[in-house]
Subunit: 429 residues, 4 copies
């Protein structure tokens, strides 16, 4: 198995530890002035984990082209190697979300053994009814779970049931359903009938959901359909989740909304109605750009975590969202982007923990917009990098994760071990 | 009372009737080729009525300026005169929606007599908790129904109850609630608590709603609040309506959505969940521009009516939306804009009636996107102007409504009868 | 060669000609009331031609999937067959725009002979530096004409020069340059330096442009790059065109703008500054959706033609834009979509010819917004379908183009003659 | 004169100075590890000044309502008092931008004396042709500099010349021209002719511009006009500036763009073509929301300063933009918002100075997107608050500006000294 040695990471950390200790101590002192305990924050950071999508380890692309990198993983075992490397360095990504049939193997127990060996677990299995597979009886060109043809819907339902069974073999506990169903022309689909068919199909899947599982519905405004999408926004999403039952919740992908939409408010609404299932973190400027988390709108990410930490603090009923990255890395080494993005999400979480909630509530009650806003900014402006680095250090990860990764030569070795097959193994494009 | 004489309209119609008959006959023959009966369509058009907002008769403005026209109505009685003129000419706007306290009078029975005399009824009373009135105990600067202060919320609740009583005096049957509550700064308001307070206040109003009334909630993405709004989209709207009960429904204003959003799909969802209360028709390019209905996106308006006529055809349970214009006329004579806009909405309705629904369903079932789309376009491309004109003619309105209005000298006479007070009587700005 | 027989089209027309004559005569009479001559309009329609992109004949796709149709063209000769079928039926698409290297052949004279034989000419050659070709020395992963590496830029320049030479062999007279150059991360590229390198490369291509050629720059807001694009909008486009010289102009693709942007105003600006090179027509709701022209926003398309016809009427200096479709047909038969879209563009042109420009100018001068707006709507509301159908009929095309195409069995025969290669020959995904 | 005593500020600073020194020293040490000198950064911060708009000191509003605060300034002298208070505390806002006729006085020398006395200078005079003033001969309802009527245009030109003369009396050196000219209906205005008239008018103003003055054009996508605006984007802006001459440049208001637009790229383009005149800083989520600078998108603001500092570092020819706030404070004390916003802009500037430009260029040249992006993030993540606070402290301002302001009782005293006139003195609504 292709891995970065713990000892190597540990040696690399030596050059950074003195400065880190200095920065950590200073930050601890500064935080203590506001009554915050840096050790508690670091403990919270150690516990914060965000899942990595198996397909994120390959280079992504657009409808125009894909420019592959070297040493790309050619199957789920190699993807698992990359996920292990990511977790070994970042120390905050201890689970993997697989996608089927991309990650289907004959022997799931072998895969489970392998993941156990590298300290990774499996969460959130994903079904795929937005592409046609070779030798598939019915095409998804015109939809899957909402298709006008009953046989096509049945095929899509059965695929989802298969995916659940794969997930059970791997120890996963939730199914994420995203479909590309929709239309490109006004009139092409009957909105209500499509949605009714979708709900009918989903009920059949829900009926077979293991008792300790959750089902997460993902909404998306557009793409691959460019006029309408069956679950186009959080409104349709939550209505579907309510129709289906308590084990069904809504999943928020940050890139799946209309321009200018206040996503943190949607998060709050889902929390309030006990329907927040989880997140697909990424960043975007135009559409579902799937850019690195926090690379464009770090403050928005922080505001989302403000809602999450607030719900946590209020011990809001039914609140236990799953955190996951979902990005397309077109111009970077996917391992680097995933390491970096995981840390950026973690950064938002830690910053949100700094917010003085009592003070904030008091400002809100007094309608003191300036002080309420400043309370958030005060937390955001603080540089919590030392906490992130110390968290990695203490958990056996790399203080400087990207630098250590580059120095390890992991990618160069992968390039040798994994000669290009010429094909596209990343799933997307 | 300042009115346009029926005899004048009738005389003016003479110059147009020959051509109209010719066009109507030709269209009748053409429609009959597709099995459509122009008389039935004309009957449907005669029945189609859309309400006019009292405040729409004054010139609107922006936060930068308002450029008043001449002869603007100075009170609800003069607004009623203008609404009568609009209906006399357009023959499809037989009701008025009042706004309080703008339209409050001491003696509602006098107002009711006046409206009866001109053949207008009252629908959809609107409350106003987005402005402070002189001598008001509590300011709405930081919210109304969702305000952190209980006394302010109570004041807003009581105002809504007052508005219901005014509406009862006028024979109205529904209350439209739009609030400006929201925030301009991240952190300023606690999203969940604000929404909870809003719901709590609304429940108190709902409890007092007369048994034969409906209550309509209006959502809006932004403005006057520029970071968050308590009912920001149809998702929050329908959840609130579901919490409140069967007499509460959602109202769709076409200008209150995020860019690119598929509004016809939202209409379908609200129909499906029996929560479509009605519409505020207008058009927009950027935000809540409140432009003349159909002036920019006539095909979108048609697609919305495709949904409405479809629901009508399917006899969808709980379907009886209220239609109303809600526009701000900054550069036109408001009377002209309202006449024209009412006809444009009526145009979309008639065109949607032309759609061959059986054929459309067949194409949808066969996933024949091209033919389904063409079915809609075929109906849209037909020029139904002769039906609209004949509808007006038969109902005693003006074949050429704008030209007849201009020739009547109504505005010039109003300019004399209603000298400017220097103030702003249109409510907005 | 696979073609639809003229005689077949002619026979099919028989069933429609009686009704068409009736409709055409009525419309002629109606138009004459406004002083318009239907014969002149029909002549203008006959002259209106819009080019078809060779790549548009294959089924398109998204980054998620492509669902091919049957009988797809496997090379430029088969694409040419499809373009001939489109023109035979629609009678308004007598030219083809090729894309290289997708349409590269060893013997361009053979291709030219073939196109001459079916009555098609070649216009607007397109270069491709947004994909890597097999055995290409330098990758375009990080840009082409603006790449930081001089050798990569040189390779892209030479490709464009090659494309010009292919175009010369085919008799084309313009080069369209669209690049995917841009970035996905803040900081990834130096905006100014990238643009300077782009300009430097373009100058080298411009220097080699044949004297009777034009060069058209296409701007695009995003995709494939998701943070910045080197020619992101018409501002950068026109500045580049001005830097390059009089033979360089800007090309407008309707799907390449920011949400809410007023595209007809951009068209006006480009006309005013003598830099409107041409159009890529399509429709879109969210991004570069590449939907069928006029399928979503027919009024916007009409408003664009209002600008074009106005410039024509004013004999604006330097005004001779090239019209072309550029669409991705994911759920329809591409031939049907191209036939239909060409007619929709033609429809907008004819409607724009109906506008009474003298009256419009008078209303504009008088700031009579209502009458100015109504002048446009009056033209738009008229159903000019009889003119379009008569234009096709007189030019030997099909009165009912889609129905005739379906009845011809063209696609079914293509399915037999062109067995799927399993690959993607449409260029895009 | 109503002021906050220097001695009071100085006393208040005492409680913060120990912690500030500690934080400043630590940051100095940390920065030195990267070769950065905190003293040089602090010097740069001291020199960084951003102008305050006179109209920003009053409470803003929307077209729906304005909720005034207490103690609002009733004239330019009282606005000047507030600007002095802002600068006394923030120490980075030593100039004021006046708006005419709002700030017109009979004796400008008296006003100049007053501003000299409080250490403020005047920059960037603003003309107002988007509102009608009492007794104005011609209305701007349908435009000003681009109006179809020559007399109206002449009136607007003369007003601008008057404004220049007022500016000369106050020692200002630039004129900012923003007009509301545009249309609400397709067809209402002829785009090209409107723009030609605008240019003709502007040329007459430009001809009278004092030799050491600049003229800045402000573009805006929409509002108050909701279909088209004569200077709708940076494209029209720069073309106008190029037509007018070297003393005319483009001004960027952050809230005046289409959704999703990359503003930092526009800034780069204006720099490259030597046409960046300056900024109106604010923040926005939906439209021209005029929210506090950096309150929503601090990273975007930083990316803009990345461009500015880069141009400064490259000593780009013709680069000397003017920095100004332009906000509407609807729910906060305007003085607090202006203090806070000035500091947020200053924060972005300081952070942009931290960027290792040599390293960044190297990453850009190597197309190392990850490291380039991280280089920016590294600078952004650092908390430079100690530099900002130390800058204020050393310049005689307040370490904790908002807290000190609140404790000073300035607003409460203003409430007594400036009883409400019941009117609106803020200019906007």
């Amino acid at each position: 198995m292709h891995r970065i040695e713990k000892s190597f990471i540990s040696e690399e950390n030596q050059q950074y530890i003195t400065d880190l200790n200095k920065d950590f101590d200073y930050l601890g002192e500064k935080l203590s002035r506001s009554g915050l305990d840096i050790e508690k924050l670091t403990d919270a950071a150690v516990k914060f984990q965000i899942a990595v999508p198996s397909w994120g380890t390959g280079t992504g692309g657009t409808r125009f082209a894909r420019f592959p990198g070297v040493g790309e993983p050619r199957n789920i075992f190699e993807k698992l190697e990359d996920c292990a490397a990511i977790n070994d360095l970042s120390a905050c990504t201890n689970s993997v979300s697989p996608h089927f049939p991309w990650d289907k193997v004959d022997d799931f127990s072998e895969l489970k053994q392998q993941s156990d060996a590298v300290g990774l677990s499996w969460i959130a299995v994903n079904s795929n009814t937005f592409q046609d597979q070779k030798d598939q009886a019915h095409s998804y060109k015109y939809g899957s779970l909402s298709h006008t043809d009953a046989a096509t819907r049945q095929q899509a339902i059965e695929h989802n049931l298969d995916v659940i069974s794969y997930g059970q073999a791997l120890g996963a506990k939730s199914l994420t359903v995203w479909v590309g169903d929709g239309s490109n022309h006004p009139g092409q689909q009957h909105f209500q009938r499509s949605f009714e068919r979708y709900l009918e199909s989903m009920k059949k899947i829900y009926a077979e959901l293991p008792s300790d599982w959750e089902m997460h519905i993902e909404h998306k405004m557009f793409e691959p359909a460019f006029y309408s999408t069956v679950i186009q926004d959080w409104g349709s999403n939550i209505l579907a989740a309510m129709e289906l039952g308590p084990k069904c919740k809504s999943l928020v992908d940050l890139g799946h909304h209309a321009p200018n939409v206040n996503i943190e408010m949607i998060v709050s609404r889902l929390i309030q109605f006990k329907k927040l299932g989880g997140f697909h973190f990424n960043d975007s400027k135009y559409g579902d750009d799937d850019l690195d988390s926090g690379s464009l709108h770090p403050y928005q990410q922080f505001l989302i975590f403000n809602e999450l930490v607030d719900a946590e603090a209020r011990q809001q009923e039914g609140f236990s969202p799953a955190y996951m990255l979902d990005q397309s890395h077109n111009v970077t080494d996917p391992i680097e982007s995933l390491i970096n993005s995981a840390a950026e999400v973690q950064r938002s979480y830690i910053k949100a923990l700094l917010i003085d909630r009592e003070a904030l509530y008091a400002h809100q009650t007094a309608n003191d917009a300036m002080m309420a806003s400043s309370e958030l900014k005060k937390a955001f402006n603080l540089d919590v990098s030392p906490i992130l680095a110390m968290t990695r250090y203490r958990a056996g990860g790399a203080i400087e994760a990207i630098a250590t990764y580059r120095k390890s030569g992991y990618r160069q070795q992968a390039a040798i071990k994994r000669p290009s097959t010429g094909g596209n193994t990343s799933g997307i494009v």
